[in-house]
Structures are given as C-alpha cells and as structure tokens.
C-alpha cells in the first residue's frame, strides 16, 4: 500500500519503554478502528500484531531501559491501517527467528509473536537494522 493513502486519523507518539504506556496508545488505535466500523475480527488481528510489536520493541529492543523510547506512528482509514514501531535497540534479524510451526520447534516457547504478526496483518516489513517494523492491514482481507 502506498503512503499516500487517504488516512483519516494519524498519530505519532514517543513512549517510554513501558508496556503500560504502549497499551494506552494501543487502546486509542483500537477505539479508532471500531469508530470507523472495522469488524471485530480485524480489530483482534491488529490488536494482536501491535501488542506483539510493542512488547518486542520494549522488552527485546530497548531491554526496558527507561532512558530509551519507542516511536509509534499509526494511520487509520476506513479501509486500511498502518502501524510503524521503532525502538532504540540493536535490532534483530527476523529471518533468523525459527519457524515455531516446524515439527522440531512445536514445543519451543519462541517465535510465535512474529509469526502471529505476519499472519494477522496484510504486510510486515522490517528495516535492515531490525529495529523498525512497518505493518499494514487492509480491512476485511483474508490473512
């Protein structure tokens, strides 16, 4: 999706490395989706993906360092939503995260957050450094 989409609601905010602060922002986004008549299934998917992205940024990226911030940009329209999350950590290689659905990883407690983000959103892209993720979801699109 191009960035010139006609967003009807946008917000850019820098939050501390604290999941409670992330959830305030997340609830605002979800309220806006519901206000724009997004279906609950789509709202659930966005909720799950943004929750996982914020936890990744705060805990794994910034290591919950109170001196570091997480930048979150959100855009909503009647038909699409875009969320970008940037942390101040060293980044990671998403390609190196093992597939949790491989037989040998089925009982391993890792990799599911990233997988759920990719499953419930239309697109998930990381920058080369691995400390910035941009996710979009098109309303009503089958995952």
């Amino acid at each position: 999706m191009s960035d010139d989409h006609s967003w009807s609601w946008s917000k850019e905010q820098s939050i501390p490395s604290d999941t409670a602060a992330g959830r305030v922002l997340l609830e605002e986004l979800l309220d806006e989706l519901r206000r724009q008549d997004w279906e609950e299934r789509d709202v659930f998917g966005v909720h799950l993906a943004v929750e996982e992205a914020l936890v990744n940024a705060i805990k794994h990226g910034n290591q919950e360092d109170p001196a570091k911030q997480v930048m979150v940009q959100t855009h909503v329209s009647a038909t699409a939503v875009k969320i970008e999350v940037t942390d101040e950590g060293g980044g990671f290689d998403p390609e190196a995260v093992p597939d949790p659905t491989d037989d040998e990883n089925l009982e391993a407690p890792s990799g599911r957050g990233l997988m759920l983000m990719k499953s419930f959103m239309s697109s998930v892209e990381f920058n080369d450094a691995g400390n910035h993720v941009a996710m979009t979801k098109v309303k009503g699109e089958e995952d």
């Binding site: 999941t19 299934r41 909720h47 996982e52 936890v55 089925l106 391993a108 407690p109 599911r112």
Partner: protein
C-alpha cells in the same frame, strides 16, 4: 495455598477446572503470576488433571502461549492431563495458525473435556 488472584479453581471429581479472572492475558507480570498459580496445582498431592476453561478470555499474547507450553511440559513430567475448552473463534485461530492445536487437546466445552479426562482412567 495462598490466595489465587489470576484464576478461579473448582474441583469436579478429580479434575481441577480452571477459569481465568481477566479478559486479556498479555502482561508479563500477570502471566508470571498466572503461571505460578497454575503450576502450584501440579505441586499439590493427588490429581494432576487440569481443565483450562477460556470462557470470557478475549485475548492471549504469545507470552501467554509460551506459558501454556511450559505448563504442558510440566503436566507431562508429572504424568498428568491437560485439556483446554471454550476458546473463542479468534483464539482458536491463533492455536491453529501456530499449530498449537496439535500440542494441546482442545474441546468445545467442559462437558466434552471432562468426559475425555474421565475416559483416561
């Protein structure tokens, strides 16, 4: 047993039937407490049959899924049994996507799960 904050437990026969006190299971601290309370059920003498009823639970993070995987491991270590029930469709989809429906035994409701647990005897 100290007071439980995250779960409510009823005993049906020799099965611990667990319900969750919160709609969203996502916060790390919460998940830690939840894990301690669930694991403590396996430390008590007697039955190690657990039925987790997710009625009313709207949301599970990957951290919560990971805690369930650890619980499943512990249940197997003590030769116990674990069943999950009443997952709303969105959560059921999460289990399907992650293939965790192959690791856990998931049932529509408590009646089905209790019948299955009792058939283990």
């Amino acid at each position: 047993m100290s007071e439980r904050r995250r779960i409510t437990v009823n005993t049906v026969g020799d099965v611990h039937v667990v319900r969750f006190n919160d709609r969203k299971i996502l916060d790390t601290t919460y998940i830690g407490e939840l894990g301690e309370e669930l694991f403590s059920l396996l430390e008590e003498p007697g039955s190690h049959k657990l039925l987790l009823n997710f009625d009313g639970v709207e949301f599970l993070s990957s951290g919560a899924l990971n805690k369930l995987i650890f619980l499943d491991r512990r249940v197997k270590e003590v030769s116990g049994s674990l069943r999950l029930t009443n997952l709303r469709p969105e959560l059921n989809e999460v289990f399907m996507i992650t293939r965790l429906h192959e690791l856990f035994q998931i049932f529509e409701d408590e009646v089905e799960a209790l019948a299955d647990l009792n058939s283990d005897d």
